[in-house]
Subunit: 384 residues, 2 copies
Amino acid sequence: MKSISILGSTGSIGINTLNVIRLHPERFKVTALAAGSNLDLFAAQIKEFKPRLVSLEREEDALKLSSIVGPSVEVLYGAEGAESVAVYDNPDVTVSAITGAAGLLPTLAAAKAGGVVALANKESLVLAGSIVMAEAKKSGATIVPVDSEHSAIMQSLVGHRREDIKRIILTASGGPFLDRPQEDFVNITPQQALKHPNWDMGAKVTIDSATLLNKGLEVIEARWLFDLSPDEISVLVHPQSIVHSMVEYLDGSIISQMGAPDMRGPIAYALAYPERIETGVEPCDLTRGPLEFREPDMKKFPCLGLAYDALRAGGTMPAALNAADEVAVRAFLEGQVAFTAISGIIEDTLTRNAPGNGATIEEITSADRVARENARRAVKKVEL
Amino acid sequence: MKSISILGSTGSIGINTLNVIRLHPERFKVTALAAGSNLDLFAAQIKEFKPRLVSLEREEDALKLSSIVGPSVEVLYGAEGAESVAVYDNPDVTVSAITGAAGLLPTLAAAKAGGVVALANKESLVLAGSIVMAEAKKSGATIVPVDSEHSAIMQSLVGHRREDIKRIILTASGGPFLDRPQEDFVNITPQQALKHPNWDMGAKVTIDSATLLNKGLEVIEARWLFDLSPDEISVLVHPQSIVHSMVEYLDGSIISQMGAPDMRGPIAYALAYPERIETGVEPCDLTRGPLEFREPDMKKFPCLGLAYDALRAGGTMPAALNAADEVAVRAFLEGQVAFTAISGIIEDTLTRNAPGNGATIEEITSADRVARENARRAVKKVEL
């Protein structure tokens, strides 16, 4: 029986994690949950899975929840609450699925605790990859990625020799605007950008998929997860989202992992690692249609290039990239700026980022804060 | 430095094996070679690679060769010569690439010797899979397949748990007649059938690719190589021959191996196993065109179904299948029978095969001999 802590249980990864756990009551026990502000769903999850410790973002929600769930469950709140959930009773697996930079500290806490970190919060590695991986190495924690691409890479690496890798190839659906003419990008509405062709995800990551910035963050994440140089990480557009990613070896051999586009696949892989379990995911029918691949259009999707730039620059640059993107995407979703302004806001912010080696969490959070301010200023300049 | 014996050095696998070895003079040393009757090429190979023992099919060729290569090379001939080459000086790797049933005994000798058997001769496993695998287990030999499909399966299995396998999926190009209307099959000429869309191979295996019997033999081979039941082995037509085969796991995940269709890939994998080496194979460009998959048409290609039948029947039935096919394909290539007669000849032969558990080489070779006689009789009945 594995004990599981989930950070972000009411988000789409959290919900799907509980869907997988529900299939295997003999295998998993939920010991702690953290969520944002979706009180109703969180209360229902607590009722069903009976964790002993839970946490919400705000104190007032925590107070409300306490009166609902009664004294048998300890209710915390805020960043410290999330960190407590991350490591409560030394869980076998901590699922880190809080969206955004807020996921960093609880992920770091889990990495220090030494169990399996099922990592959906890519910002932890984008912002502080060297720190998180160093802590994991020190404690013996295993970071198992919970996005489809990195899970595919991990599954395409097991059993093969590290020194035989030529490069990894992250696949990208290309998002909803893959075939839209670039001159029409300026008219893209949030509603259009929120319709992802293959994946059902949160709003932020859906917009990031439409700009390909999401793929850029994944490139940075891969750099840390698999200890690769930027040149060893490629991106290939694959509109069908069946081949979830690939590893090319020096003999010309490519190992890939495929499956239906369903997050329960990588979630189950991380929960049961190194075993595999039933997921409830329908089998992948390869006869349904052809699998296509093309090089990404870096002109149409400049955010991908910006991410490579930030990775190559290193230090706090990826943190600034991520912060600027969070601000820009929010501004786009709120109708403040055009879709095409997102990359400019990020670029503007990156040029203002002070050099810093990003060796401490303080440096990173400071760069994050400054970048947000700069990005907000950049938003003002291009406001509609 | 690995010592290598090659059985069938003048065939297409043998030539490509030497092409790979030529790239890595610091890594491989050819110690023994066996070939059929291509004296000129064989003499040139001996001159270049300097094996200490060689063997040809016929005594008269061996005598001729002796006078060419001089006394520094020992020249043998016949089945015993090939067996000597297979095990000479306990090679690290024996490449078993003699075509047809003639490859069985030298393969068995190599399996008993305990090194790596780089197995291109699929008949060894089709005829005597249980015996060859049992001997390999006893001696500690590792059978590494040298056809693209089984190499892909092996590469998609390493590092994963045996108990997590749901099924393997062998891909098939579908051969040159995939889209030819079935009513026109009767007009297929040997010349047409010898044109394979993707692979450059010998005549027998090219015709077998056109009938899909080759895929059937691979199903039987896979049964033994990977210890699977017939129901755990599927076939999927994939005209581009880029995905060389796949393994589906119980969580819905499919691991596949891809690459350019070039035999140097699987050959190099087997030679260097468990490492990978440069192959000279051009990188696989996935942007060249879509990858398509479809279910095989068992009506148009009845030989595939016959192979599954023979595998399920077990005993000497696969040996009879293989023998009947060798006879039928030769008759087709010599213009004796129509392309469409091949499956009928095999079916006729299978119904006449006496039950036998195939536990001994004698039983198998006897079934093989009787099946050839029956197949020749069946050929006479449908002769053009």
